[in-house]
């Protein structure tokens, strides 16, 4: 039994802002003019992500410089500096969350940009291109990279985003033993990529306490890093990337009134489910470049977390699309006999009164016969 279908003619919003330098609506002082261009294909993007994942040693002059990463947190590897490299899965997911893999688009706002052909996507607060680079992109700012190329070149833009992600890796504390090839170890850095704001603390009460892994097809509110992690698990299609069911840190460990503390190896199956466990994952891009072991789930080589289940991955299978529609709108009937105590509430009293009323009427009718 189903309810009436609801048909809508509402179109998916194009949402292509272009708050370029010369726009009359450039209230946030964006400092670089938009550049005309068309987006790479999905296949071309995949190559770009693979290139950028290798860091400056891979992208060379196609991107800016980037700092080395600190690898190791003494559990057991001592901290040391290594050339920056990035899980391509995270770059892909971040770019999807930030811009739907768009360096360019046909502007639909502000008003004085409508009618222009495809050009750099620029948010109202001066986020440029596929990685939505905002740092250094305002008027008067002089960052250590080429702002024109950030606006004009997809690879350079993405590499600049990676450079900023490396900065966040340095600004945040260890996750696990702080291994760059392990996707989950970037949890805090990804949080910081969107800003070290309380909005991204998973203990913020604005978020549902029963939220699972973020699913783009369902949407809803979630901290930024959960949206990125959920995107990794739910790619738009298999041709974009392969689903990876990431593990999450324990929210009780993260803390409620601070930036993320140093975190143990993430093991939770979802942001709110630590009764079920998952293992962390190696980036397939970095494993190929390192010529190391097979990519995928990693057995913890460190000290086991107390109380953690050594269970198999409890995540969903590879998902190439939205979840199936909800069950028919009629909710299931009560599935078990329930003994209730003394009836409460006005409903029962009213039902009793109705019975008395009917009895009164029957008596009355009988008396009249």
């Amino acid at each position: 039994m189903t309810g009436a279908l609801f048909f809508t003619t509402a179109l998916v919003e194009a949402f292509c802002p272009c708050y370029t330098l010369s726009s009359n609506y450039n209230t946030y002082s964006c400092g670089v003019e938009a550049v005309a261009g068309t987006n790479p294909t999905v296949a071309e993007w995949t190559d770009i992500f693979a290139l950028v994942s290798r860091g400056p040693s891979g992208w060379g002059s196609a991107g800016p410089s980037a700092r080395n990463l600190t690898q190791g947190c003494g559990n057991p590897e001592p901290a040391r500096q290594v050339p920056a490299r990035f899980p391509c899965e995270l770059l892909q997911a971040i770019a999807m969350v930030e811009s739907d893999w768009r360096q360019f688009c046909v502007p639909d706002r502000p008003a004085d940009q409508v009618g222009n052909p495809s050009r750099t996507i620029i948010s109202f607060d001066c986020g440029y291109g596929v990685a939505q680079v905002t740092s250094g992109m305002h008027q008067g700012e002089t960052p250590g990279y080429d702002r024109q190329r950030v606006a004009a070149e997809p690879t350079y833009n993405l590499a600049t985003g990676a450079r900023l992600l490396a900065d966040k890796w340095a600004a945040t504390r260890c996750v696990g033993d702080r291994q760059p090839e392990r996707l989950e170890h970037w949890y805090s850095a990804v949080w910081a990529y969107n800003g070290l704001a309380y909005l991204n603390n998973p203990n913020n009460p604005v978020y549902s306490s029963s939220r699972g892994v973020y699913h783009p097809a369902v949407g809803g509110s979630a901290p930024y890093q959960e949206k990125v992690f959920g995107q990794v698990e739910h790619p738009p299609s298999p041709s974009h990337w392969t689903s990876v069911p990431l593990a999450y840190p324990n929210p009780a460990e993260i803390g409620g009134g601070n930036a993320p503390a140093a975190l143990a190896e993430p093991r939770c199956a979802s942001p709110t489910d630590c009764a079920t466990s998952r293992t962390v994952h190696l980036s397939i891009c970095l494993q190929e470049s390192d010529g190391g072991t097979d990519a995928g789930p990693v057995a913890d080589s460190g000290t086991p977390d107390a109380g953690a289940d050594a269970g198999a991955d409890a995540g969903p299978p590879e998902d190439a699309g939205p979840p199936p529609p909800p069950d028919p709108v009629i909710l299931p009937a009560l599935g078990e006999e329930v003994e209730l105590g003394k009836p409460e509430g006005c409903g029962c009293q009213v039902e009793g009164a109705a019975a008395l009323a009917l009895l009164a009427l029957l008596c009355l009718l009988r008396a009249r016969r």
Partner: protein, 355 residues
């Protein structure tokens, strides 16, 4: 017909009429959001009816926006907080809208905190607003500090949108937990600190309810008869999540229940009972009632004025939450139609002559 018989007939008919009126399934205000679109529709759906009603109002917002709403009691007006098309920082990128059947949505206030629900108390509407502060410096980040924001609690005039600041706080969060009479209960979070305060909506005077508590509190529910605040908290000693109750007059605090999951979602229940979810898959527990809607977490949103019905959302992580209506006495769910493929939010139960 004798007088006695007339009296009996009248009494019987009156009781029948009362019984029928009070037993009528609730008319529920539902908000349905296209998860990949930029619109939300408002429905007034009668529980128990199999046919979905037509939407009565619509709202445009950011693609993929978080949308939460609250019904203004005694009216057909729903206040909605939804994200506006904006930049990457969603913190204060939402707006308060007024939705009424057959009318265009009206934007009342911007800079509203993301993913919050407007608080309606005594016919007045309050929201969390603010402005983002600067990003923490490297040394501040090293200390574990987050961005400090300028936060306000504001009353919004529903006719004009004019805002009146009731409370100011500089920190991470000033969360509207509940309202009791003329006081708003706020949960405030700052660097390594959280507290609960009560703020008088007229004078702005604040009194401290809890000077310090672990900054994990969530899912606040006010028991109006007991004058107590229920919420979930984390107990660092046991590592478990607990339901705490704070008596607002005596400030006595006690733990009522505990579980391994933070999704306890406690809520008061008519008759002075506690409703909560013992586990992530165990559903609602109230007295001897267990899991009336099956596995998942049940978040209660509202009760009918007579306490006969409860409405809320049944949640299984990663899937669309499902709205539900329950008969509180029997625990039996009522059919509640809703548009498929939409993310649903329950704004309340329409009561009174406006039904």
């Amino acid at each position: 017909m004798s007088g006695l018989r007339i009296l009996a007939l009248g009494l019987g008919l009156g009781l029948v009429q009362t019984a029928l009126a009070q037993a009528a399934p609730p008319l529920v205000a539902l908000l349905a959001t296209d998860p990949q679109g930029n619109s939300t529709q408002l429905y007034f759906q009668r529980a128990g009816e199999k046919t979905l009603a037509e939407p009565v109002a619509s709202l445009q917002h950011r693609t993929g926006a978080a949308v939460q709403g609250a019904l203004l009691p005694g009216t057909r007006t729903v206040l909605v907080v939804a994200d506006l098309p904006a930049g990457s920082d969603l913190s204060f990128g939402a707006a308060l809208f007024r939705l009424e059947p057959g009318r265009e949505a009206v934007l009342l206030a911007d800079r509203v905190y993301h993913s919050t629900r407007p608080l309606v108390a005594q016919g007045r509407v309050f929201v969390q607003r603010g402005r983002a502060g600067p990003e923490p410096s490297a040394s501040q980040a090293e200390e574990g500090q987050l961005r400090v924001d300028q936060l306000t609690i504001e009353e919004i005039d529903l006719a004009t949108g004019r805002a009146r600041v009731v409370h100011r706080h500089q920190g991470y969060l000033a969360f509207l937990a509940a309202a009791l009479e003329e006081e708003l209960i706020l949960y405030r979070v700052a660097y390594r600190h959280a507290d609960l305060v009560a703020v008088n909506t007229r004078s702005g005077a604040a009194r401290v309810l809890l000077a310090s508590l672990p900054s994990f509190a969530r899912d606040f529910s006010l028991d109006p008869q007991a004058r107590a605040l229920l919420y979930t908290q984390h107990d660092a000693r046991t590592g478990r999540w607990v339901v705490e109750r704070l008596q607002l007059d005596t400030l006595v605090r006690e733990q009522l229940a505990s579980g391994p999951s933070l999704a306890l979602a406690p809520h008061w229940w008519p008759g002075g009972k506690l409703a909560f979810n013992p586990g992530l898959q165990e559903g609602l527990a109230v007295g001897k009632l267990r899991a009336p809607l099956g596995r998942g977490v049940d978040h209660l949103r509202a009760f009918s004025l007579d306490g006969a019905f409860a409405v809320g959302l049944h949640s299984v992580g990663g899937q669309f939450p499902l709205p539900f209506a329950l008969h509180t006495a029997s625990g039996k769910p009522l059919p509640l139609a809703f548009p498929q493929g939409r993310r649903i939010e329950v704004a309340g139960i329409l009561e009174g002559a406006d039904r």
